[in-house]
Symmetry: D3
Subunit: 176 residues, 6 copies
C-alpha cells in the first residue's frame, strides 16, 4: 500500500481538523496524496462560501503548520461537471495518475466505484464537531468556532475578515 | 385522431406500470408514438438515478414484454435546456414532427401550450402506487417495490444491481 | 450625489409598488438610473414566472404611468452567471459606467462590495405587502393581489392572462 | 405596414453609417423598432471588440445625434445561444412582441423564416465602405476610419481610446 | 465477432451511400449496431446543416429502403461535450453497452482508444464521391448530388426543400 | 520588485525551453510565482493536445530538473471562461493574490491591463525554435523536436508515447 498514490476529494469549506486528520491518516498509508478540491469554481454560497484561491491558501498554511512536507501532496481544483456521469472524466483531465480514492461522500464513492477505482472510507474524527456545516452554523450564530479549524485557518479567516461574508450570505434566500 | 403522431414526455426514473399504461392508452388513439426521455443526461441523483442508456434498455424491454411492436414507437433522449424558455425548441431539434403532446407535468404542459401545441392529460393509473417517487422510496426503505414496475424492468434492475446505486445516493446531502 | 449614476438590481417578478418606490427614491438622489433585471433569461419557474420581455414591458408601462421620464433610466437584462465570482464582470459587460449600487439582496451586496463598489440599502416600503413572494402567493391562493402592483402592471397581467401561468407552475414539484 | 413593430438584428461592432441608414429606413416604414444586439456577451475578439455596454452607449449617442426620438426604439442585448436551433426562442425571451424582422445575415434570416416570421432585407448603403469589417481593417492598418461611423461614435471611440483594444487584439492568433 | 455489439459514430450530414455501405459492412460482422449521431444538437451550420430529427428520419428511411430490419440497429443522438476529455463518458450515458467502435474520425478514434475500447476502421467506399462535404459542395454549386445519397434521403431532402437551407447557409461568413 | 508575487500565464502545450527561461527570468525578479495553466480543461485538439494533468507533471519535472525549489512556485489550472469579459474574474477565483502579470499573449495582456493589473512582457528566448507551435509541427512532420523541450519533458512524452496523440490529431479536419 505504502507506495500507492492516493486522492482525497472534498470541498474544504473550510479545511477543518477532520480534514487535517484525514490527510495524516492517508499519508501514514501512502507515499503521495493529491488533494482534489471539489466545486472549485463555486463561492459566495451558503454551502461554499470560500473561493478556491482562499481554500488553497488555507490548506497550504494548515499543512505547513502541521509539519507536513510539500513533497508529499499537491492541491488541485476540480470544477463541478455539468452531469454527474462525466465527473470522473473531468477528474482524470485534472489529477495525475492515482491508485486509490479517499472520500466519505456517497455520490463521489459511487461515481468512482462504477468507474473501477478503489474507494476507501476515511475514519471520522469527532464528526460531531469537525464538519464544515458545524463551522458555518457557529459562525452565523456567533458561537465559538475557533476549535473546529487549525490555528492557521483561524488566523487566515480572521485576518481577511472572511467570517463577515458567511454571516452576510446567511441572510439570502437564494437556493444556491 | 387515429392517424396523428403523439409525443409522450417523461423522465422514466424508472419506467413503471403507470408509464406502460400511458403508452397503451396513447397507442389506442394514435398511429405512432415518440417517447421523449426528459433530463436525459442527468443520472446519479436522487430524482434521476438512472442514465439514459439504462432507461432506454428498460423501456424497450418493457414494451417488448407487453407485446407492443417496435414499428409503433421510438425513444429519444431530451437533455434539459439551460432555460425553460428554450426547451420546446430543443424538443423540435430532437423529435420529428408530432401533432399532440401527452404529459401530466405542469411545466411541460405550459411550455408546450404556449408554443401552440395540443396538450393532453394522461389518465392516472393507480397513481398512489405507480410513480417513480414511490419506487425510489420503497427501494431506499427496503420495502417491496417489484409490483410497481413491469417484470422486464424488475429483472433489469436486479441483474445489474442498480438498486444499490439508489440506496447509496440516498445517503448524500447534495441538493441535486 | 445628485450627478452620480445609480444601478438598481432586482428580478422584478413582477415589478411591484415597492420597486416603484425604490426607483423614485433613487431618482430623487441621482441623475440617472440603470435598472438591471437579474436572472434575465429565467422564466416559467415558481420564483421567476415572467420572461425578460414581459418584465421589460411591465416596468416601462409602470414608470410611464408614474410620470417618470424615459430620459432618466434604462432597463437592461442581466443573465445569471455560472459562478457567483464572475457575476460582477458580467454586469460590467452589460451596464455602462455607474457610481453606486442599490440593492437589498445580501449576495448582490457582498459581490458588489468585494469588487469595490459603493452599495446602498433601499428603504423598505411596506415590505409586509410589497414583495414578489407575496404577489405570487396571493395569485396562487386566489386572493386579492391587485393592490401589490402598479395599475399598469395589473392591466398587463390581466390582458395577457399571465396569472394562469403562475397558477399552473405552482402545481409542479420541480426544484427550479 | 406603418403600425407594425420591427426588429433589427445586428452585432454593431461598431454602429456605423450603414446601420444608421437602416434604422432610418425602417422607422420610415414602421411605428416602433427593437434593436437586437447580437453576440451581446462577446467582447475582446477580432470580430467583436466592443462590449454590449459600449455598443449600447454608441448606438444611443448616434441616434440622439441623428435626432431620432427615444420613443421610437429600444436596444436589447441578445446573447448567442448554444445551438442555432434554440436562438429564436432566446430572442422571444428577450424582445417584446414584434411583427417583422430586418436583417441581411443569412443565418438569422433562415432561423427567423423557419420559425414563421416575416423577414426583410435592408437595402445596402455604400456597403463597400460602411461595414464593421472595413472599420476594423482600417483601424488596424492605421488608415482613416472616421468617415465610416457617425460623429458621436467617432468621439466615443476616441475619448475612451477603444481603438487601442482593436489594434492589440489584432496581434493575437486566437481563433475566436 | 458475430455476437458482438458495435457502435458506429458519425455526423450523417446527411446519411450518404458511404454510410449505408458502412452499416451493411458492420452488420455482416456483428449482431447489433448502435448508430451514434454526433454533434446531435448542432444544426443550421455549413458543416451541420440538418437537425437531429431530420437526420433520424433520413437514416431510418434509408435503412428501411435498403431492407435492413429495425431489430438490428438503434439510432441515438450524441451532443458534443464541452471538453474532448469528457466525450467518452457522455457516450456511455447515452449508448447501452457496446463491444467495438467503428469510425474513421481521428479524434473519435483516439478518445475511444485511450478509454480502452476496440476501435475499427471502416473500409472507404468510393470516398471521392460519397462524403458529406462533397454533397454540400455540389448542392451549393448547383451540381448533380442525387447519386451521393440513397433514394430515400434524396426524396426527403427534396420534399422538405432542405437544399434551400444549405444554399442559404453558404452565404454566411459565420465561423461555425 | 523582489518581494512582489508574479503570475505567469500560458498554455504550456508543452512546457518548452522558452517557458523555462521565462520562469527563471521572473524568479530572478520576484519572490514567488504562480504558473497559471490556461485552457486547462482543453485537450486532444491540435493546439491543445495535452491534458492539464499531463502538463502539470511535465512542468513539475522540468522545474525539478532545473533545480528550482518547490517553495518558489505553484501551478494552477485556469479553465477558459465562456466570455473574454469574465476571464479575469475566473483568474481571481483560482489564483491567490498576485502583484504583476507576465504574458506575451495580446488578449491576456489587454484583459489584465483593463482590470488594472501591471502587465509585463517576457523577453523572447530564441523564439524561432522554442514555441509550442514549432514543437507540434516537428512532431507531426517527424523532424527532430528533442532540442525544443527540457530533457524531463522529452522523457515524459517518450515514456507515455504522447507523440502518437499529436500525430493522430493532425489527421482530423475538426475546427477545434
Amino acid at each position: 500500500m505504502k507506495e500507492k498514490i492516493a486522492l482525497l476529494v472534498g470541498r474544504f469549506q473550510p479545511f477543518h481538523k477532520g480534514h487535517l486528520h484525514a490527510v495524516m491518516y492517508i499519508l501514514e498509508r501512502h507515499s503521495y496524496l493529491y488533494i482534489g478540491v471539489g466545486s472549485a469554481l463555486e463561492s459566495h454560497t451558503k454551502r461554499n462560501p470560500f473561493t478556491f484561491s482562499e481554500r488553497l491558501e488555507m490548506i497550504r498554511l494548515a499543512l505547513e503548520e502541521a509539519g507536513i512536507s510539500r513533497d508529499l501532496y499537491y492541491i488541485i481544483p476540480i470544477p463541478d461537471s455539468k452531469y454527474h456521469g462525466t465527473w470522473v472524466s473531468l477528474v482524470k483531465i485534472l489529477i495525475p495518475k492515482f491508485d486509490i480514492v479517499y472520500t466519505n461522500d456517497p455520490l463521489t464513492r459511487i461515481l468512482m466505484y462504477e468507474s473501477g477505482y478503489n474507494v476507501e472510507h476515511i475514519p471520522y474524527f469527532h464528526r460531531e464537531i469537525y464538519t464544515g456545516e458545524e463551522f458555518r452554523n457557529r459562525v452565523v450564530t456567533n458561537r465559538e468556532w475557533r476549535e473546529i479549524v487549525p490555528n492557521a485557518v483561524y488566523n487566515y479567516i480572521m485576518k481577511n475578515k472572511l467570517y463577515t461574508r458567511i454571516i452576510q450570505l446567511w441572510k439570502t434566500d437564494k437556493v444556491r
